[in-house]
């Protein structure tokens, strides 16, 4: 707690961090503002590291290094390096080695060089916020700078304990880097929400297969064998409903998906007394005969929920009504012939023109799509 209060007092607001230089003539003593990050023509890792190098080379005593680090931290997102461990290490390297290590018990106890320590803690905090996993080299650097009793090192150790735990908390595994391809992303999203049934098959179709389609886009559709059977058993006079869009989040990315919902079977009704064990059912006992010769007509699978039976799930490239219509036709073509004779109602809650994923880059290589589909 005390650390936190102290930290708040000591924290320098990065927005005020500017690089001050004396202007050319010594007589006037005017101060000018110079921002080396601003003047970089290209904002990438290379130029970011160059600025750090420049700062290190400027002055052997490295005056204003705390301010520099705060300013650099604030600019990371701009340069797109907020997830790069190497950059954080370069920043830590700016701090002087040896000087900040406490030499006696009092120094160690009363936060030796508080501004510098707080700066390093803030840097580590930013790493944590951006889910950048530190490594043992960083530990060594912090040890060389602040000594084994420094607070940044303690922060580092806590990070090493907790960060892997939080990183693996989600039962749905995602790759380190999410794919840039929207189809692959949609596939990941659909795989995640259909993971309730391990037997599910995810397929990627093109709406071009359907001649009448207006939107030429892709569809990631998922259906398991049991869903096919549940769909085939739907009553013909009861319409199926397309519901959506619903959102599923993959880290920062969001994907919209739609459900095809049918009628659900009645729930198992058991009014018998759960405490009455006087007549527990026993098997007939013919060796080899298990189960019964009839399938019970009650809710059995995970797909049958209170509000209906989910018979298929999809995400389309445009999320438009037309693409969903194509989806229904494609489902019909791929093993669900009943869809030709059963009415389908579209109850879409959002404007149909909304895109499923803000398509930053169109899929350039169609062969790649086929590869994923196969």
């Amino acid at each position: 707690m005390a650390n936190k209060i102290l930290g708040n007092i000591l924290r320098t607001r990065p927005s005020f961090m500017l690089f001050k230089r004396w202007e050319g003539s010594k007589s006037e003593k005017r101060v000018t503002v110079h921002d080396p990050f601003y003047s970089q023509p290209q904002k990438n890792k290379q130029s970011y590291l160059e600025v750090i190098k420049m700062f290190e080379g400027q002055d052997t005593r490295r005056r204003g290094h705390v301010e520099f680090i705060y300013a650099a931290l604030a600019r990371m997102r701009e340069f797109g390096v907020q997830k790069d461990l190497e950059v954080y290490k370069a920043l830590v390297d700016v701090l002087p080695k040896g000087k900040l290590i406490p030499r006696n018990i009092f120094q160690a106890e009363f936060m030796h060089y508080p501004k510098q320590q707080q700066c390093a803690i803030d840097l580590l905090e930013q790493m944590e916020d951006n889910k950048v996993m530190p490594d043992s080299e960083l530990e060594q650097m912090l040890l060389n700078i602040f000594g084994s009793r420094g607070i940044p090192l303690r922060k580092f150790w806590r990070m090493l304990y907790w960060m892997p735990k939080f990183r693996n908390l989600s039962p749905w595994y995602l790759p380190e880097e999410l794919p840039n391809d929207t189809i692959a992303l949609a596939r990941l999203a659909i795989e995640r929400i259909t993971s309730v049934d391990p037997d599910i098959k995810v397929e990627i179709w093109e709406t071009e297969e359907i001649e009448a389609s207006l939107d030429k886009t892709w569809i990631v559709s998922a259906q398991s064998e049991s869903q096919k059977i549940l769909l085939a058993e739907q009553p013909l006079d009861d319409p199926l409903i397309v519901k959506g869009p619903f959102n599923v989040y993959l880290r920062e990315q969001v994907v919209s998906y739609f459900l095809l919902i049918g009628k659900t079977r009645p729930e198992i009704k058991d009014d018998s007394d759960p405490d009455d064990v006087s007549n527990i059912k026993k098997p007939l006992g013919i060796p080899g005969v298990v189960g019964s010769s009839q399938v019970p007509v009650v809710r059995q699978t995970v797909h049958e929920q209170d509000d209906g039976t989910i018979v298929s799930v999809c995400a389309t490239g445009t999320s438009s009504r037309d693409s969903l219509l194509s989806w229904i036709r494609l489902l019909e073509k791929h093993g669900n012939p009943l869809l030709s004779s059963i009415p389908v109602i579209f109850t879409l809650t959002a404007p149909p023109s909304e895109m499923s994923i803000p398509e930053t880059q169109p899929v350039k290589d169609r062969s790649k799509v086929e590869e994923i589909a196969s």
């Binding site: 059977i229 058993e233 060796p287 010769s293």
Partner: protein, 608 residues
């Protein structure tokens, strides 16, 4: 205080008996007097044709089902007198037949054809058929003795055991005229009956578990369609099919019937005409077909016996460190363990056969299933242990033995389904007896007085130290006192286990599969322990050769098994978190969902 409680709890009528027990007046033996009574002989004559006399049946009066009662900790002490079914003449004629069979079957020069010819010659294909129909009218005890001799040829053993079960089913299922028409063809042995009961598991959620159906066509002929797991040998087939959706009925398919198509271990029927077994009810059919479990147990045991022979043949001529290999105590102990298993299984089989043959209207379906359960449970492990002695040196023979064992252990049904059958039947019986008690246990706040009484009454059980009040040792040889107390302990724990299970799950106990299989295993071990003790005691008392070895085998087996039962029932009492079921089930579920290794490799890291 303690003395007062002791005195109050003793029922006056037991005082005198317990006094005698205390001072070991062994001559005072109230209960076992019936066991030593001469057997009542009921002779049955066929008055239609006095020239041919049917076999005499000597059966005792009907008794309560033995193993079902064990689930409520009631032990019929008469059962500790090992059954003696056959008289002198019957034994002699049986031995003569067995000698004839064994001579041919153990001769390596004889071919499969010779062996089959011997079986036909000794009228083995007609064994269970009545004397009047030119059969042997053999009972179950004789059948398993015959089967033991035949089982050295594994294929023939399987064939003939199915054939016998089929014959019994036809005998009670067909009308007399129909039976008379085909019986002569059946007992020649050229067209043995194969059983077609088991089906493939359903592959879709809309498929029923049991799909073979029989329908009557316009001419009044039953026609069967479906697929079965069956070893088809171009003879008769006994098929189980469903009629009217939920009822099951047996059907006989004649050789060369239309629409039968065999493909490996599967046989498909396409509108195959069949004769229905109308005269037998579903329950009776279940009893008859259940016998195949007993035969499967015999076949498994014989596989184990031949494995021991093979290992002995391998070990004898070999040496290790300048000494005979047979001197290695590890090898000796492996073989010894296998022998205990064989002894136990054999005792249980003949014990069960005695129940089936010795009493009127026997209810021994559980015992039959338990025989099979025991050997399936232990047989494969024991076999693997045995076969690790020759290791890779007798590759082909070992492979064959192991594969046969695996085949016969899973033949017809899996271990789990036998377990479920045993446990559900037992719990059904226990449920009937304990219904009101369980209801009160499940609603403790409504019956506070009962709960206090129950806590007091169960205090020994909770400590895993029940009061031994069955006095089983009175019915056994005195030197078996300790093992008999161990058996007594196991029996007394069963009621507590059932009570715990039903108290915990209520009616849903029928779906607590992992716990039920423990209960089934424990009950199985109790049957086998009873059989082993009864047999050893009998052998020692009548002075059979090597009876002292039997006594030691029995004591070893009971000692070892008691710990197993103790553990099983403790696991039931502990519940899913302490016996780790909860977790193993979760791991399994996750594996089934993901089909990956669930954990990262040991070389994986999260940071560098």
């Amino acid at each position: 205080m303690n003395i007062a409680r002791k005195l109050c709890t003793i029922h006056p009528s037991y005082v005198s008996r317990n006094l005698y027990r205390k001072f070991r007046f062994s001559a005072i033996n109230y209960d076992t007097s019936t066991a030593t009574q001469p057997q009542v002989q009921e002779e049955k004559f066929d008055f239609e044709d006095l020239k041919v006399i049917e076999r005499t049946e000597r059966r005792k009066a009907k008794i309560e089902p033995f193993m079902k009662d064990i689930f409520t900790s009631i032990f019929n002490r008469d059962m500790l007198a090992y059954p003696e079914i056959l008289n002198k003449e019957e034994t002699e004629s049986m031995e003569a037949r067995i000698n004839a069979i064994t001579n041919i079957f153990t001769d390596p020069k004889k071919t499969a054809e010779d062996r089959k010819k011997t079986l036909k010659g000794t009228r083995m294909y007609a064994a269970p058929v009545s004397l009047t129909r030119n059969g042997l009218a053999s009972n179950v005890t004789e059948s398993i003795r015959f089967l033991e001799a035949i089982a050295s040829d594994f294929e023939l053993g399987q064939e003939i055991s199915d054939h016998w079960v089929g014959l019994l089913a036809l005998q009670s299922g067909l009308a007399q005229e129909q039976y008379t028409m085909i019986i002569d063809d059946l007992i020649t042995g050229d067209k043995p009956i194969s059983l077609a009961i088991k089906e493939r598991l359903a592959e879709r959620i809309s498929q029923a578990d049991f799909r073979t159906a029989a329908e009557m066509d316009s001419q009044g002929i039953w026609r069967i369609s479906g697929e079965k797991v069956c070893r088809y040998s171009n003879g008769y087939i006994l098929v189980l099919a469903s009629i009217e959706a939920s009822r099951l009925k047996g059907f006989l398919i004649h050789p060369d019937a239309a629409g039968v198509n065999a493909d490996g271990t599967f046989v498909t029927f396409a509108k195959t005409p069949a004769t229905p077994l109308d005269m037998v009810s579903e329950v009776d059919l279940a009893h008859i077909l259940g016998l195949s479990r007993l035969y499967a147990a015999v076949l498994s045991r014989c596989r184990l016996t031949s494995a021991i022979r093979s290992v002995v043949e391998y070990t004898r001529p070999r040496a290790f460190a300048g000494k005979p290999l047979a001197d290695l105590t590890t090898i000796q102990s492996t073989i010894g363990n296998a022998l205990i298993d064989i002894y136990a299984c054999e005792s249980a089989e003949y014990f069960t056969a005695g129940l089936l043959d010795g009493y009127v209207d026997p209810d021994a379906e559980l015992e039959v299933a338990m025989c099979r359960n025991f050997i399936t449970n232990h047989g494969l492990t024991t076999m693997l242990n045995l076969l690790s002695i020759p290791a890779l040196e007798k590759e082909e023979e070992c492979k064959k033995l192991l594969d046969d064992m695996r085949h016969v252990a899973t033949r017809g049904e899996s271990l789990d389904s036998v377990n479920m059958f045993i446990a559900l039947n037992g719990i059904h019986h226990a449920g009937k007896v304990m219904a009101s008690e369980v209801k009160q246990i499940r609603n403790p706040l409504m019956h506070p007085a009962f709960i206090f009484k129950k806590v007091l009454a169960n205090r020994h059980q909770e400590k895993d130290d029940p009061k031994l009040n069955l006095y089983l040792s009175e019915n056994l040889h005195p030197s078996l006192k300790q093992p008999s107390e161990q058996l007594e302990y196991c029996v007394l724990r069963m009621r507590f286990a059932c009570e715990t299970l039903m108290g915990r799950h209520g009616v849903k106990v029928a779906t607590a599969y992992t716990e039920l299989s423990r209960l089934a295993e424990a009950a199985t071990e109790i049957l086998v322990m009873t059989a082993v003790l009864a047999r050893a005691s009998r052998s020692y008392c009548i002075g059979l050769r090597n009876a002292e070895t039997e006594m030691k085998l029995a004591a070893c087996f009971v000692e070892r098994t008691r710990d197993r039962v103790k553990k099983l029932i403790k696991d039931i009492d502990d519940g899913e978190y302490l016996n780790l079921d909860h977790f193993t089930v979760q791991f399994g579920r996750k594996m089934l969902d993901t089909n990956s290794s669930l954990v990262e490799k040991p070389t994986a890291r999260t940071f560098w």
